[in-house]
């Protein structure tokens, strides 16, 4: 993994014997104990650990739910209610899983926005960023298929709408949707395979999380100053400094999560999903889970089937290629006031799009969705590349992380401050 030299020294004979054969302890020590981490990381950097916690929670509760759930069109709904009613602690485990998905996304959105704000996608972290986007897409796939499993009205019609996105593809669209369904509509074979895939995708996700951490440990963490680590003064060992900071934030997150699990367990869901799936009646408003709403708004903003689908997937893909859209050497938006303004505008637009995604597709809602969708693409494809060329210097930038921590600003002469030096 990381490039720093190992200073692990086994203390006992058995540890030495083990280390020569399988250096697990050395790996843990090098990567998660003494690993040099920029000393100026703020709380926005704690989401990695929070996400790790939620991944574990989702895996454990998911494996348990699979012991009681029945992936059958006639029995799925009842089996979920069986879990909620009869299984010992079933109500707790199921609430943990369903709300866990939401909190997973809350944490991942903070994580992604932090990455954009502080330029964590820039060289040399492009692969790290791309692996992250892959993880995010896998999360969406897993969450979507998981939402189908209770086989309520929203499950069924959500599945119908999302799988129908693929029918927009010219020529082969219909064949693809039938392939996805295993039938001529969403039905038993669809439910059964979604169950299998809902179990498979998280396993792949775990593998990608490993790659993500690997990629992170090769180049090291970015930091709020966006400066590269220049000396050992710039860093602190991961343990105990960041383990404790991360764990503290994880407990804070768990507290909010527990509040939802115990007191607002159905708040993030939709009442219609407590009505059994009915293939002949569509609910009045089909609304996806909140974490998909901005993309759903983008989909509905375009008055063309294929166009809408392309726009929706495009809205995700522009995020993936961000490292190549923004080639500005200054990473952190702390030192780019113009880019910062447009970034916050983007955050507000994304939230407003989320709001519009939950509204019916009519009247000014559609007009507003179009304007905001336009901004989404203009932000990534026009504003970011333009500012990338314009905003290349900043007088106030400190010379190093240590300087920044000690409050020495503007140490280096104009023209010489490239944040991406020294890799």
């Amino acid at each position: 993994m990381g490039h720093h030299e190992s200073n692990y020294e086994p203390k006992w004979g058995i540890a030495k014997w083990f280390d020569e054969r399988l250096p697990v302890a050395r790996m843990v020590s090098d990567q998660f104990i003494v690993f040099p981490t920029p000393r100026n990381l703020n709380y926005w950097w704690t989401m990695g650990m929070v996400l790790f916690f939620f991944l574990i929670i989702q895996l454990i509760t998911g494996i348990i739910l699979a012991m009681h759930y029945i992936p059958h069109a006639d029995m799925a709904f009842n089996s979920v209610e069986h879990i909620m009613r009869d299984v010992n602690w079933g109500w707790l485990l199921r609430n943990m899983h369903s709300n866990g998905a939401s909190f997973f996304f809350i944490a991942v959105y903070i994580h992604i926005l932090r990455g954009i704000y502080y330029g964590s996608y820039k060289a040399p972290r492009e692969i790290l960023w791309l692996v992250g986007v892959v993880i995010y897409i896998m999360m969406m796939a897993a969450a979507f298929m998981g939402y189908v499993l209770p086989w309520g009205q929203m499950s069924f019609w959500g599945a119908t709408v999302i799988t129908n996105l693929f029918s927009a593809i010219p020529l082969v669209g219909d064949s693809i949707t039938q392939f996805l369904w295993g039938a001529y509509a969403v039905s038993q074979p669809t439910l059964n395979r979604f169950y299998s895939l809902h179990y498979l995708v998280p396993m792949l996700l775990v593998a990608f999380v490993f790659i993500h951490v690997w990629a992170l440990h090769v180049v090291g963490s970015n930091n709020p100053e966006g400066l590269s680590v220049k000396s050992s003064d710039d860093t602190l060992p991961f343990h105990p400094y960041f383990t404790m900071k991360d764990m503290y934030m994880s407990v804070v997150f768990l507290t909010i999560y527990a509040f939802f699990v115990f007191y607002m367990s159905n708040y993030m869901g939709h009442p219609d999903n407590f009505i059994r799936a009915n293939p002949v009646v569509t609910p009045a408003h089909i609304v996806p889970e909140w974490y998909f709403l901005p993309f759903y708004a983008v989909l509905r903003a375009i008055p063309d089937k294929l166009g809408g689908v392309i726009a929706m997937f495009g809205a995700i893909m522009v995020v993936a290629v961000l490292p190549w859209l923004d080639r500005n050497p200054i990473r952190s938006l702390r030192y780019r006031p113009k880019a910062r303004f447009f970034f916050w505008l983007f955050v507000i637009v994304a939230m407003l799009l989320g709001f519009l995604g939950a509204k019916p597709a009519e009247g000014w809602y559609v007009t507003a969705s179009r304007i905001l969708t336009a901004y989404w693409f203009i932000y990534f494809l026009v504003i970011v590349p333009l500012l990338s060329k314009m905003e290349t210097t900043n007088r106030r930038m400190p010379g190093s992380i240590t300087d920044a921590v000690l409050g020495h600003h503007g140490k280096i002469s104009e023209g010489a401050q490239t944040a991406s030096s020294g890799h």
Binding site: W91, D272, F274, P360, G363, W364
Partner: protein, 317 residues
């Protein structure tokens, strides 16, 4: 811009939106005093310390048993649930008496028959505690045939399957240039309503709706409204509801009917509470454990913060 600054600007933005929303919400509240508005009720089971009122659940079950069960089943519940902890908690003997008359379709007999040789009728047996609270109809078609084509829904999770909308949709502002303001106001009032829901742990939309529905039947549809052979209900979407007023209609004006009106409201409240319990039978356990977990996690957060502070003490960062 430091994190504190960004947080602060975010808070300002929220406040601004929230303020606009508040104004919008206040405006709405004024115009919204009509009968189609579902009011939020005070329930014994709402909030952090909420729990079911056993007596109310018993009364609610009685309403279900005497009225609703003529058409609606509660397929996800077994009779035994009525004596389990956190529910109406009938005693074993009370429950035995309650189901003494109940029958369920019998399993195939020794000859493998489920229907009588003589008249072809379904063979029945006495209900056991473990039997489900079935619909009185043999199947969907029979249920629809008996109810003029309408299917009485199963009531097991009805209180979770209904709710009240956060903010009314307003997709057609008076003029195009008003749209951004209307939009921001709607967004603001949505944020306010979410904040209100979270601070009150609002999860009783279903019970509120059921209570409102049962107490919002009109004796007659207002002039000019044709509901055919259906009934007129102020809160039902579209107003024309297939279910005839099960507990009575909304009485307006007549002093003499005050008593009847009171009874209608009492029964509706009780049965709404009972249906809420049926949807969320572990609410009591959930909320009481939740409080302990929250207190534990808040203390742990404090301890973790102290540990973090101690470790970072003297380290510039």
């Amino acid at each position: 811009m430091s994190v504190k600054n960004t947080l602060a600007s975010f808070a300002v933005a929220l406040t601004v939106f929230g303020g606009i929303g508040m104004a919008g919400a206040a405006e709405k509240a004024g115009e919204h005093h009509d009968k189609s508005h579902v009011e939020r009720q005070n329930w014994s089971f709402s909030g952090l310390l909420g729990s079911y009122d056993k007596a109310q659940l018993k009364r609610g079950f009685a309403v279900y048993n005497e009225v609703c069960s003529a058409c609606h089943g509660m397929n996800l519940l077994s009779w035994r649930n009525l004596m389990e902890e956190g529910g109406p908690e009938f005693t074993k003997d009370e429950l035995k008496a309650l189901i003494a008359e109940k029958e369920v379709p019998a399993e195939p007999n020794e000859e493998g028959l489920t229907h009588s040789d003589e008249d072809g009728s379904r063979l029945m047996r006495a209900a056991l505690f473990t039997d489900r609270m079935l619909s009185p109809y043999a199947n969907k078609k029979a249920a629809m045939a008996a109810n003029a084509g309408a299917l009485p829904p199963d009531l097991s999770v009805i209180a979770k399957a209904r709710g009240i909308p956060h903010v009314a949709d307003n997709s057609e502002p008076s003029a195009w240039y008003a749209a951004p303001f209307v939009g921001l106001m709607e967004y603001g009032s949505w944020i306010v309503s979410v904040a209100k829901d979270v601070t009150t742990q609002y999860q009783e939309g279903g019970a509120d709706y059921i209570y409102a529905l049962l107490t919002s039947y009109a004796e007659e549809a207002p002039a000019g409204v044709d509901v055919g052979d259906r009934s007129f209900n102020y809160v039902f979407p579209g107003n024309a509801i297939s279910m005839a007023a099960p507990l009575g209609t909304l009485e307006t004006g007549a002093e003499a009917d005050k008593e009847a009106n009171k009874e209608l409201h009492a029964k509706s409240r009780d049965v709404a509470a009972y249906l809420m319990w049926a949807s969320e039978p572990h609410l009591n356990a959930r909320k009481s454990l939740g409080l302990k977990v929250l207190i534990y996690l808040i203390i742990l957060s404090g301890l973790m913060y102290a540990v973090k502070r101690t470790i970072w003490a003297g380290v510039k960062h």
